[in-house]
């Protein structure tokens, strides 16, 4: 196995891992703020991809489609939080888990009703010839995914560190009551955090669409993102990124060396191992349970 093959694998695992990382971030942000894990996040990704499809169908340029899709995702996330999640915030965990699943299923079956199971391709200005560089084939689409992920990470790092809203989100994630006493509108922050998460999910959708093609089962990706989030630790944003990249690496290299069976099995084995040994992941903190 030569160095260039290893490098090639490294690049493809980075791009796969970036997609996992994006969706994992979309899972972690509302989880930190509201304590709710959105099992329907995968379908937000699907919604993003189909939104992009529709917009491109209207002849809108890709560079305009990108922000518009993210905006649609944002609005959808806020609407979901306001109408469906807020009424059951205080419900038992079972109710919340199943409700988010049901929201995902509703989105998926609504999409399937309209577009059926036909796969669609998303034309982008980046569907060009691969670049060759030092014996490695670089697909511009993959590079674009990695680039967008890095920009997103930089934005989030700045947002949570220096922006007022970002700081209030961090406060809310620590204690709803204390934040309320400090004059933070907790409900508003929660709604925005869901909007952000859905916006990031929609971004994941538009990035994923040209790579795997648009179909109603795209949301299956959320399983991998959940694995990434568990590896990184549910309460940690850098963790979600690292978890995504790690999962991409493990998957790609195990697939290359040991075949597809192991590649498909290994994420879930990893998930179980982490849940058993370190359920709070590499970067998370063990939760304190008050009786």
């Amino acid at each position: 196995m030569t160095g260039s093959v290893l490098l090639q694998l490294l690049i493809s695992s980075l791009s796969v891992g970036s997609i996992y990382a994006i969706v994992a971030l979309a899972l972690v942000i509302p989880f930190k703020a509201s304590g709710i894990l959105n099992f329907g996040q995968g379908e937000i990704v699907t919604v993003g991809a189909y939104t992009a499809l529709v917009l491109v169908g209207f002849g809108v340029s890709y560079w305009l489609v990108l922000p518009l899709t993210v905006l649609v995702g944002w609005l959808a996330g806020m609407a979901i939080e306001r109408s469906l999640i807020r009424p059951i915030m205080a419900a038992p965990e079972f109710t919340i888990v199943i409700a988010t699943f049901a929201i995902g299923l509703i989105l998926k079956s609504a999409i399937r009703l309209y577009w059926q199971d036909n796969p669609f391709a998303l034309e982008t200005p980046l569907n060009t010839e691969p670049l060759h560089f030092a014996g490695v084939v670089l697909n511009p689409l993959y590079l674009w995914v990695v680039f967008c992920t890095l920009v997103l990470i930089a934005f989030l790092a700045y947002f949570f560190k220096h922006n007022r809203l970002g700081k209030s989100m961090r406060a809310v994630s620590q204690s709803h009551d204390a934040s309320r006493l400090m004059g933070i509108g907790v409900e508003r922050v929660l709604m925005i955090s869901w909007g952000m998460s859905a916006a990031i999910g929609a971004l994941g959708g538009i990035l994923l669409a040209p790579i795997v093609g648009i179909n109603p089962e795209m949301g299956h990706l959320v399983l991998k993102a959940l694995v990434a989030a568990v590896i990184g630790g549910f309460s940690s944003l850098p963790g979600a990124f690292v978890g995504g990249i790690l999962l991409g690496l493990v998957e790609t290299y195990s697939g290359a060396f040991f075949g597809s069976t192991l590649k498909n099995i290994i994420p879930f084995v990893l998930l179980v191992i982490f849940l058993l040994i370190r359920p709070y992941g590499l970067f998370g903190k063990p939760p304190v349970v008050r009786i």
Binding site: L84, I88, I98, A99, L226, F268, L271, L275
Partner: protein, 310 residues
Amino acid sequence: MTRSATKTVGFLFTGVALMVAPFILGAYHSYLLGLAFINIILALGLNLLTGNSGQISLCHSSFMAIGSYTFMLLSNLFGWPAPLAVVAAVVLSSLGGFMVGYPARRLSGIYLALATLAFLALTQVIIEEFPDLTGGIRGLKLEPMNWMGLPFETKYLIYFSLLASTAFSIYIALQIMDNRLGRAFDAIRTSPQAAQALGIPVASIKLTAFVISAAYAGLAGAMLSMVVGFIDPVEFGVSAALRHITFIVIGGMGSVAGSIAGAVALTGLPEALRPVKEYSDLVYAALLLLSLLFMPNGLVGLVTIFRQGK
């Protein structure tokens, strides 16, 4: 008539109706009835785990898959007598329940949901990756079964073994809930810490709940192979798992009557939705969400409210 007399008459009537049903109903309706029985068995098991002991499981369709494939492979490849193959299916799926339940003893809430989701995904991958044994995504077809030369038509044999299994499952579920074990389930659901303080071995009770529940799902799976005569691996995915949860949410959590009501109502639903078949997934999910939001105690809860109102 007093309430208990009404009840007795109702049970007798239902019993007689179910005994003569296969001789009266056409092929399609007895098939639907069969599916209703299977869903009842599954819902009973899931309700013991989720409604009573308070644990989330998103992998009951996998336990069902274990039961289905075990039954079909033993029957097709080795010609095992059907009842024996059913027993083997139940044993193997309980073993599956043990495999999930043992590590899951320390998990709860979303972490348990994730672990069971991982098991579901693993089962799906294994079904797809070993097509020589499982038929892969194309599925498996049931060869004629070995009924040890019983002198009856196969469809009656299937129907009455299904009826007997369902009655037995209901009986066992009622017994468990009336017993020490059922009370321990309730205690664990309400507060694991308090249960622990009362001397209830929380971990092993949780594990017991998983094993019993998986045994129910395995029985339902074996019966599904028998009734449908075909295994379609799509039937064991995430949306199937959610459909099973819909049974108990709509019927009523932690109640045998709720499991039965939910399973029967939702088996009949596709029939009612036949003109708009493509909407069925959407309707299922919408019903699930609406009942979570507005009917947290399910159909059984509605009956209770209705009675108290009188």
